[in-house]
Each structure stands twice: as structure tokens, then as C-alpha cells.
């Protein structure tokens, strides 16, 4: 069941509506979340623009791209995904949801001029040790061919779900102590404006990313980097760097507060001359020795990108 929109929804409008609804709901006792909307949201005829693509590549510190980078495609699809989360019948509060993980299948190179259809829907409402988690799925198609598929898992903290019995995740006490690599292979010096800069290319003006004041208003001590900025930069710097189809996953841990210095270690399955095969990435806070995220990228079989 698809609901079609003529144009991508505007994120600020969605956030404002969600904020208003959350403010109203705050006065009531929250109802337990149990049912997800089944309707999919679909927008056709989305195209990238050269200007926005260039701005994205500048932010990633990469040269101009012939094909749309995987992280950039996420920004094209993101408003459609948020429109599902902003529905009145979506049971979790949109603002304040925490990005837990992301999995993307980038199946074939997509050029700037291609017309894209984006479909987004939600699945897997599950209890989490500290709230309720949900999967947001996105499918990008060109000519009815699926070319990019994403699954983002979000957590609504403190919200109880009436999920199926037996799906509860391990409690916090069961967590393994964090294993960090012995050495880093690169570092990112993230300035305090990196949240604003990613917001300007992605449209994701969630206040927790923008400034100290806006973050405090949302209950954070300091602004934090967008998870998808970190993930996109990982894919841009350590991904295939060309048209190779690949699958990439990110599991987010401690948020990156801004400004910040992040150490990264990238185990790369590539000799100097051979083709890119994949990479395992760990990012951490060198001072507190806390993991920010771990990422995994792998080449998809050559047939994956062919008709």
C-alpha cells in the first residue's frame, strides 16, 4: 500500500509538526506503542542537483563525483523516511529518537541525471533494553529497478513497546567491555559547526546537531554530529571510491559531541594494487576510550549491479 507524494516533504515542516504533537502528548500519559503504520510513502521523479552534490562532496572533502555517493543518496531519501515517522499514527516520538544502526545496499552506480523513486516505510517495532526500537526502510528505484536500499534502526528511549514476547534484547549489564584497536590509522578533527554544515547539505536541521543552545533545549549538553555525517564520511573516505556496488553497515555507540577529535582504524581488504574488497572501521574517542561507531563495508558481487 503506497501513498504517493508529488514532491519530497520539507523536513523543517515535518519537524515542526512532530514537535507540536510531542508537546501536546507530553501532557498526557503516553500510550504504549504497539502498532506501526503499514502505508508506504513514495515520491517519484526525485533528481539530484549538481550544486547540492558539489556541496555534499566539499563537506566530505572529496572531489566532484561522477556517480551519486551512497551517503548523498541517503540525504535524497531521508525526507521521505521522516514523513513516515512524522505521521500521526506513528507510535514513537520523532524528535529525540536515537540512530542505532544503518545498513545500506548500494547496488549499482547512479548518475546525476537519473530520475529516482523513493519509497519509505517502517517495520520491526521491538522492545529495546532502554526503550523501543524501529526499523525505517528506504528503497530507491530507477525504472522499477531497486538501486539503493537502506535500513536505519532508531531507538525511542523510555518508550515501552508491547512487542512480541521473547524479542527483548540483552540488558545493559550483559554488554562486553569495549574492544578498541591498538592504533588508529586516521583522525577526524570535527569542528563545532560540522552539524550545521551537514544540516545545510542534508536538510536535517534536528536541533540536537546545530548549536550548544539548540542542543541544550533538546536535553543534550553539547551538540552532537549527525550519525549519517559520520557514516557518509566513512563511506566516502574508506569505501570503494568508484562505481563498485557495495554493502555498508554502521553501528552507532557513544555520540560524537562537537567539537571533537575522533580516532579511526580502518582494516582494509585491499593491497595497493588490487581492487577494493571492503573495510572494517572502528571510530572512537581517544580521551575517554569510548567507541563512537563501528562500520563494515564489503564489495557486492559484480552481478549485483547488472540487469
Amino acid at each position: 500500500m503506497d501513498r504517493r507524494f508529488d514532491a519530497p516533504p520539507k523536513l523543517p515542516t515535518l519537524y515542526a509538526a512532530a514537535l507540536a504533537r510531542q508537546a501536546r502528548n507530553a501532557l498526557r500519559r503516553p500510550a504504549p506503542a504497539d502498532l506501526l503504520p503499514t502505508e508506504r510513502h513514495r515520491v517519484d521523479n526525485i533528481t539530484a542537483t549538481q550544486e547540492k552534490l558539489d556541496a555534499f562532496q566539499r563537506l566530505m572533502g572529496r572531489p566532484q563525483a561522477e556517480f551519486l555517493p551512497s551517503g548523498y543518496l541517503h540525504t535524497l531519501a531521508f525526507p521521505v523516511a521522516v514523513s513516515v515517522l512524522a505521521r500521526p499514527d506513528f507510535p514513537l516520538p520523532l524528535l529525540g529518537m536515537i540512530h542505532l544502526s544503518n545498513e545500506i545496499h548500494h547496488l549499482r552506480p547512479i548518475s546525476l541525471s537519473e530520475r529516482l523513486s523513493v519509497t519509505a516505510w517502517v517495520e520491526n517495532l521491538l522492545p529495546h533494553r532502554s526503550g523501543t526500537q524501529v526499523d525505517v526502510l528506504v528503497d530507491i528505484e530507477t525504472d522499477s529497478e531497486s538501486v539503493w536500499r537502506g535500513r536505519s534502526t532508531y531507538l525511542a528511549k523510555g518508550v515501552k513497546a508491547n512487542g512480541p514476547v521473547g524479542t527483548a534484547l540483552p540488558s545493559a549489564g550483559d554488554r562486553q567491555p569495549e574492544q578498541l584497536p591498538e592504533y588508529h590509522t586516521r583522525q577526524w578533527a570535527l569542528a563545532s559547526d560540522i552539524g550545521r554544515r551537514y544540516a545545510s547539505v542534508s536538510g536535517d536541521y534536528n536541533p540536537i546537531h546545530l548549536s550548544g543552545i539548540s542542543a541544550r533545549a533538546s536535553g543534550m549538553k553539547r551538540p552532537i554530529a549527525h550519525g549519517m555525517y559520520l557514516a557518509s564520511r566513512m563511506a566516502a573516505e574508506m569505501g570503494p571510491g568508484d562505481a563498485t556496488p557495495f554493502r555498508w553497515t554502521v553501528e552507532f555507540r557513544a555520540p560524537v559531541t562537537l567539537p571533537s577529535r575522533v580516532f579511526l582504524s580502518a582494516g582494509m581488504d585491499r593491497s595497493v594494487t588490487a581492487q577494493w574488497q571492503g573495510a572494517e572501521v572502528t571510530a572512537w574517542d581517544p580521551r575517554r576510550r569510548r567507541k563512537h561507531f563501528s562500520g563494515r563495508m564489503e564489495r557486492l558481487g559484480d552481478s549485483a549491479g547488472e540487469e
Binding site: E182, Y183, H184, T185, R186, Q187, W188, S265
Partner: protein, 447 residues
């Protein structure tokens, strides 16, 4: 006047580096004393310092008004206006105005690479003489406008109407007014050279004590070399400075041991790299006069040493496969193999001291059987460098390290050491940013 190489004076070896080609000889060198950045040369530009180094060389070898075959030099920290830095320095020097010149940039290997390039031209008979060199100023470094301001300014220049101009100006953000100063961070990893080396230092378990001892030896050796007048015909005073400003003749293990670590503090192990066992940011310039044997004889100039052969290497430091400054370790066996030589064949080792631990990591790698087998593809350890032959007149820890100038400093000093000894060979190893490294062989002239 004969154009045939003098067989008696030709290099007494059969290496492929020179097979079938004539000899390229080091005639002499000149540099200005090196100075810590922000010090006595704070107001001197790269062009001014390079011109001073060239003019000192010109004066020493009587080249006033002469056309030299070619001058090659470079700078690592370079202003965009200095696109023709070397040619501009030549035009400002006492050399003939019809002396051609070109710029080279290979980070810290720039100076050595200019020597290799011009030597090869001499060996091929394309030029009879050449001046190789380099210069760097960390004081007079370029400061660029931010990327944001740069884009606005460019758009403003393209704008034709007032509304277009206003539209461009509206894109300016306060943060864009902050200028960009140059850094020594690697573009692809965001890590400074010292932070990169700290990882290598930790991997090879190089102790603080060993690093401080190497730094102490560098200062002691260079101070002794100054005392015995070794640098009298290698250095020309500049702006009231007559000795390398970084040289600490009176330093001691206690003093070096009291310094706080500056690199590797975020690693899990002990941080061992200090300002004492790392090179400081330095200003300076150096040049080397090269020529064919014919040229030297015709001009009645000395011949200190032959430039025998050289090899460059690069490593994949971006993905952490190897340390940023370890490329010379890989170049060395290739160079030795091609020339059918081992460490035993050398009387002098000039290993550029970017950091004390860079030298020690290289030495440790060449001694490590497992590393040499798996990483260098050798049947066993490459060998041990006799520490009594290492950097005998001091190196970058004592002299300082104006990036592009270091190669010419080393070549001139080594050539003079070989000429003094009258026999033997010297090996040069220089690491460079970008995971690169260059190694080279010089050989004494037969008396």
C-alpha cells in the same frame, strides 16, 4: 678538451646505476645556517633564502655571471606567487640570467630528488653542470583564506550585476573569515607527521632513552664538526647567523630526558617523542653544485664524490599497512640489490632524522628477520648499520629541518666526508610526507 670520460677517474664499480653513462660529481655545497621558525629568519622569504644559498655557492666556486646547465630546487611550504620559485631565485642571484631552472616538490625528499634529477641529466650528457637545492620557511608560511571566503570571492569576481554581487556576499559566514594556516597533517589521515611516527615508534618499541641518545649524538657530532671547521666551506652566514640555531652543543641526556612528550599521548603505551628527539619547524636553504668531470676539470673545481644511484619508494600508510615515514626502508634493499652491495660496503650512513625514532625504526626494521622476509621479500635481515658510521657530522635533530633544504645539506656534507676520507661510499636515506622515501648512494673519488 676531451668529451670522453676520464677512465682513471671514473667510478670503480659496475653498477647499473652508472652503466654506460658518464659520472656526475658533487663539486661542493653551500647553505645558510638553519634557524628555528619564528627566529632570525622570520622576515625572510623562501626566495630570499634560496637566492642567498645560491649566491653563496656562486661566490665559493666563482660562478658569477656564468650560465649553469640547469638549477632545480623547491619548497614544501610554498606561496602560490612562488610558482617559479627557483627561476626567480636564479634571476635574483649572481648567476647568468640565461640559466634555466625548474621547481621540484616531493615533500622532505625534494632536495635529494633535485640532486638525483640533475645528476641523471649530467650522466646522460644533457647538461654539463647543475645546481640542486631546496628551501623552506615555516615562519613566512603561506596563510590562505578559508574555503568559504575563497568561494565567495571567486563568485564575487564572476558576478556582473549588483544583485549578483550581493547574493555572493550573503553566502559569507563569520567563520569564513578565519584564515587557514598550513599544517603538517597528512591530507588523507588528518594525522600530523609526529602523530604518525608515534604509532610507528610504538609498533617498533623504540624507547625514550634510545631516542634521546640519538638526539644527543646528533648535537654532539654536529658541534664537533663545527669545532673542527667541517662546515667552514659548506655554510655561509646569513642575517647575522653563522651556526645552525637549533644546535645545542651543551645538551645532555638529563636535559633531553626532562622534556615532556609531545606526540603519541593518545596512544595506550608510553609517549616517548619530545621536542628534543623530534625536529623543530625550521627556516633555511641549501644548494649543491653538480657537474660532469669535464666541467669540473675545465673550471678547475674540486670533485668530492660521485652520485652513483638512487631509488624511491612509497608505502600504503593511508590504511595503516605501514608507517608514514617507513618508505626508505623499502627503497633500501632495492637500491642495494641493484648495485650488488650490502651495508658492509658503506663507510657513512646519512639517515635523515625527521624524528630520532624514524631513524631507529628504520634500523630496527632492517635488522628484523621476520619483517625483512615478509615485508621486504628478502631471505633474511637486510643488515645492521654500524652506529659509529651513522650521521657522523650530525643530522636534522641538531641542524633543524627546513623540509626541502635537507637533501642538499645531506648530500654536500656526505660528499665532503667522502672527499676527506678519500675512499669509500655513503648511503643516504630520506623519508617524506605522503608515505614516500628516497635513498641514494654517493661514492668517493679515487685519488
Amino acid at each position: 678538451m676531451s668529451t670522453l670520460p676520464d677512465q682513471q677517474n671514473a667510478a670503480p664499480q659496475s653498477s647499473s646505476g652508472q652503466r654506460g653513462a658518464r659520472s656526475a660529481v658533487v663539486i661542493g655545497g653551500n647553505r645558510i645556517p638553519f634557524a628555528r621558525s619564528g627566529g632570525p629568519y622570520a622576515q625572510a622569504s623562501n626566495q630570499e633564502m634560496l637566492t642567498a644559498a645560491l649566491d653563496g655557492l656562486v661566490a665559493r666556486f666563482g660562478l658569477q655571471g656564468e650560465r649553469v646547465g640547469e638549477v632545480a630546487a623547491g619548497a614544501v611550504l610554498k606561496h602560490s606567487r612562488d610558482f617559479n620559485l627557483t627561476r626567480e631565485a636564479v634571476l635574483g642571484s649572481a648567476l647568468a640570467a640565461d640559466t634555466p631552472a625548474y621547481d621540484v616538490q616531493q615533500a622532505c625528499a625534494t632536495g635529494l630528488e633535485t640532486v638525483i634529477g640533475l645528476s641523471n641529466k649530467i650522466k646522460l650528457g644533457q647538461i654539463e653542470s647543475g645546481i640542486a637545492g631546496g628551501v623552506d620557511s615555516a615562519s613566512d608560511a603561506p596563510v590562505a583564506v578559508s574555503e568559504g571566503l575563497r568561494r565567495v570571492l571567486l563568485e564575487l569576481a564572476r558576478a556582473r550585476s549588483t544583485p549578483q554581487k550581493l547574493a555572493a556576499l550573503r553566502k559569507l559566514r563569520p567563520v569564513d573569515l578565519k584564515p587557514n594556516a598550513p599544517t603538517t597533517a597528512e591530507p588523507r589521515t588528518g594525522l600530523s607527521m609526529g602523530e604518525h611516527q608515534a604509532i610507528t615508534t610504538s609498533r617498533w618499541n623504540i624507547s625514550r632513552r634510545a631516542q634521546d641518545e640519538l638526539a644527543l649524538a646528533s648535537h654532539a657530532n654536529m658541534a664537533a664538526a663545527y669545532d673542527r671547521g667541517f662546515f667552514d666551506d659548506l655554510v655561509t652566514p646569513f642575517r647575522g647567523v653563522s651556526r645552525d640555531g637549533n644546535l645545542r652543543a651543551d645538551t645532555s641526556l638529563e636535559k633531553l630526558g626532562s622534556l615532556k612528550p609531545v606526540f603519541g599521548r593518545n596512544l595506550t603505551g608510553e609517549a616517548t617523542m619530545t621536542a628534543g628527539n623530534s625536529t623543530p619547524l625550521t627556516d633555511g636553504a641549501a644548494a649543491v653544485l653538480l657537474g660532469s668531470e669535464d666541467y669540473a676539470r675545465k673550471h678547475n673545481l674540486p670533485m668530492l664524490a660521485n652520485v652513483v644511484d638512487a631509488e624511491a619508494a612509497a608505502v600504503d600508510f593511508v590504511h595503516g599497512k605501514e608507517g608514514l615515514l617507513m618508505a626508505p626502508v623499502y627503497a633500501m634493499p632495492r637500491l642495494l640489490q641493484r648495485n650488488d652491495m650490502t651495508f658492509e660496503d658503506f663507510d657513512f650512513f646519512e639517515i635523515h632524522e625527521a624524528f630520532a625514532s624514524t631513524v631507529l625504526s628504520s634500523l630496527a626494521a632492517w635488522e628484523d628477520e621476520d619483517f625483512c622476509r615478509t615485508q621486504l621479500g628478502l631471505s633474511g635481515a637486510l643488515g645492521t648499520v654500524d652506529r659509529t658510521k651513522l650521521n657522523v657530522n650530525g643530522s636534522s635533530l641538531a641542524a633543524g629541518h627546513p623540509f626541502a633544504a635537507t637533501g642538499a645539506r645531506i648530500v654536500a656534507s656526505l660528499a665532503k666526508s667522502l672527499a676527506e676520507k678519500g675512499s669509500g661510499r655513503g648511503l643516504i636515506s630520506v623519508c617524506a610526507a605522503g608515505g614516500q622515501g628516497v635513498v641514494a648512494i654517493l661514492e668517493a673519488r679515487r685519488p
